[in-house]
Symmetry: C2
Amino acid sequence: MSTSHSVNEKHRISAGQLDMPPRLLLGPGPSNAHPRVLQAIGMRQVGHLDPTFVGLMNEVQELLRYAWQTDNQLTIPVSGTGSAAMEASLANTVEPGDTVLVGVNGYFGLRLVDMAGRYGANVRQIEKPWGQVFSLDDLKAGLEAHRPAILALVHAETSTGACQPLEGVADLCRQYDCLLLIDTVTSLGGVPLFLDEWGVDVAYSGTQKCLSCPPGLSPLTLGPRAVEKLQNRKSQVANWYLDMSLVSKYWGSARTYHHTAPINMNYALREALRLVAEEGLEARWARHQANAELFWNGLAEMGMSCHVDAAYRLPSLTTVRVPEGVDAKAVAQRLLSEYNIEIAGGLGQLAGQVWRVGLMGFNSRPENVLLLLSALKKILGR
Amino acid sequence: MSTSHSVNEKHRISAGQLDMPPRLLLGPGPSNAHPRVLQAIGMRQVGHLDPTFVGLMNEVQELLRYAWQTDNQLTIPVSGTGSAAMEASLANTVEPGDTVLVGVNGYFGLRLVDMAGRYGANVRQIEKPWGQVFSLDDLKAGLEAHRPAILALVHAETSTGACQPLEGVADLCRQYDCLLLIDTVTSLGGVPLFLDEWGVDVAYSGTQKCLSCPPGLSPLTLGPRAVEKLQNRKSQVANWYLDMSLVSKYWGSARTYHHTAPINMNYALREALRLVAEEGLEARWARHQANAELFWNGLAEMGMSCHVDAAYRLPSLTTVRVPEGVDAKAVAQRLLSEYNIEIAGGLGQLAGQVWRVGLMGFNSRPENVLLLLSALKKILGR
């Protein structure tokens, strides 16, 4: 071993004991992890090919199928945050030259456009103002005009708070022979999702929203038609880390080494999904809806309004219109500094116009709604 | 919200309270996290753009610079396990058509070949038997023959236990005007590394080896020449999640939103790096070397031998020759089932011929060496 050089001490900083403030995370995510999840994440480690870890992988996969309401064999947590699974959904299903039609009605639609382009897709867009959703007629017209191989839609737009209805969309996709790919980052575990009933071919999500798990993994599921497309690719997947033809063997019965799964993050996700199964999906969806309505009613009493029409409003993420003359950023900063509450401002088209308030997973509780309304009243003087 | 379907209970399994066996992880990784790291990972969360988290990001970056002995501004933990940073190192520096010369003397060299090809590189290889290393003459001949834009070498080959000397390699690379890219997955925090003194342009690592942190993040650093190549790219980086022209703005002074960093994993990495700074690199390297020698001497006393020549043997990962007539897999299984000790078998060319024993980070302690030697004696009857 060479030790001919002397060690440079310049970057050897003295960092104090870790201590973070007790934030209540009511922004677009991450939401606070459930206390049981934060206990599970510190569990002693086993190897990633240990029989006990393989058993845990099976449980995580099965519980993800429950949360998504799918039988898809290829249902796994990708070893990266939400955007990694978003990219995996495209990297594996898009072949260079494929036409991909993206419904853009918010920031994450634009991200899908960017990513699809990097995999050589011929990307087309249909657009709606941010906060609105696509009708079946809109989608049919888009499919007719562009004849895509894949239609990509955002089920729960974290940038706008709109929920895209999906009933009937798959029938259109079958008619035009294209795959249906959806973003469920802000809906999984908080908003009704019936992947198989709806005929969704590809979906992805994050752990740090309605699942109340820290960020670091991103669920991905591919249905039979998507798997068939993957198996019949003419070109190699242009991304090694996210290549599901390799990753699926690691998460499949062979457990062939690919990368090293984030062990402790998988402990955390298992606990988060176990909490979903204990509560039951119907009760969990109803809880998210009830607490969101409590918040919306409180806003109305303060004379404030929501950006999204009630018919398409997400219970997990609300965009609140910033009242005339109010400095949106200053209010968010006061919430954080005076009350340890995090909410976020608008992104892109909605910057300065809305606040984004998340009531997700463990954080979707009446006491959090009351506290936030009360703090907003104080700061806004209403 | 549509709830017209009824929830399918098929996948709603009843999973018990999380409880994993107390394994001693002496394989090629993950190693056991330090107890302080497992405490830190469960710390309450803040938002990923919270001022307190931004402060933590700065500390992580600075402590990574210390561990790697580099001043590189672009020094960050990629939000995925080791292979993600490996892929990032190539995705950002390779443009389609670039010649990339890979030194292949083990499994991870082959992985570099696979990945580089996916980014359109004209990949060339120089080879050595697994367990051997390249001399400066070997490298000079390779550079002369192939005139690559990038030379990629594995500093610490986890599949073989060999440590590639790097003194003088950068001078050759400058002479042939190519970047030097190295894999330090199994050396960072355990084996002497002087990135700047050695003139390394790109390096990556993992958290789950000598840093004693769970898997889930992967350090990456790009020096000035690599950053210049990135900034002058003709083509977009063909990978959104790992595009350092975007990620570097998230980890740079602007803190522009890209993806959501794994908050709790960063808590863990900060604590792991804090432990490195507390111990000091010289002491840490000496500890790894001393415990490895204790193990090697114990093996010799049992009449067993190491696969790699002592001059190039990694202290963090030892490949032990399986004695004639011994079933390697059965021994590893008995170590796990009877003593809760994980070691691994050989990969690829070395399958069945060696065991791989890691003495990394927190696990590099004399008591672990004694225990493993003693358990091996029992099982092998020596």
